[in-house]
């Protein structure tokens, strides 16, 4: 088993103003891997999608919290975005491009597709009535190269 070089945990209420807070924290945590700006934007966008999903879908009838965990092993950063809300009945369907429950206006249904495009792996575990965990992983390959080029 790999040792974890670093980790973080953050808990916040499922309010939309925390979307920006969560993605900035995640990017700051990952930044020690000497990510490029593009890689940090990939991470921010994927975290934004997962946290927005929790905020929009997990707690339709009550307030709740979102837990963001991060860990770094070598060149790989992993994040878990967990809620304790209603859960997802059909994960396969939820991950289809353009699928949306349609319970709110103008959802594109592209959240999981965006996560999959910007991260190396995306895994979703959900228990109806218990909540959902989204695990995101990205290996940073380009360490220092951008700094060297622009030095």
């Amino acid at each position: 088993m790999q040792t974890t070089d670093n980790y973080m945990e953050l808990t916040f209420p499922a309010h939309s103003q925390n979307e920006a807070f969560a993605r900035v924290c995640a990017a700051a945590f990952a930044a020690r891997l000497d990510c490029t700006i593009d890689e940090l934007t990939d991470i921010k966008t994927a975290i934004s999608e997962a946290v927005t999903n929790a905020i929009v879908h997990a707690y339709p009838a009550r307030s709740g919290k979102v837990l963001l965990r991060g860990s770094i092993n070598g060149n790989t950063v992993r994040f878990e975005i967990q809620d304790f809300g209603c859960g997802i009945e059909n994960i396969e369907q939820a991950m289809q491009p353009f699928f949306s429950t349609g319970n709110s206006a103008e959802r594109s249904g592209m959240g999981f597709t965006v996560m999959q495009s910007f991260m190396d792996t995306v895994a979703v575990h959900s228990q109806p009535g218990q909540g959902t965990v989204v695990r995101l992983e990205k290996t940073i390959l380009s360490q220092n190269t951008e700094c060297l080029i622009h030095a």
Partner: protein, 97 residues
């Protein structure tokens, strides 16, 4: 805001286009669409981040422009946001200038 050679109103967006910011932007863009029959040009030069909430917002504005006989255009899209446009098929309904 400025009128371009196409006589279409151009609006420069700024900041992060996410779920939290989408409702306020939607109201402003809808007000602009109601005044601009030919549609809108959206300038993305100063948009630093967009996620799928932005995709939903743009699809909604496209529909509103189309209902009024206008079109939606975008310009100065960063490579990162360009990837979102391509993966969602937005360029089939929104023209890139």
């Amino acid at each position: 805001m400025q009128k371009t050679a196409l006589h279409t109103l151009c609006i420069a967006l700024e900041g992060e286009l996410d779920h939290h910011n989408a409702p306020a932007l939607r109201r402003k863009l809808d007000a602009a669409l109601d005044r601009s029959r030919s549609g809108l040009i959206l300038d993305f030069s100063r948009v630093t981040l967009m996620d799928s909430s932005g995709i939903g917002l743009l699809i909604g504005r496209y529909k509103r422009a189309k209902d009024r006989g206008g079109k939606l255009y975008v310009q100065n899209v960063s490579p990162h946001i360009d990837k979102l446009f391509r993966m969602s098929g937005l360029y089939s309904i929104i023209e890139k200038l």
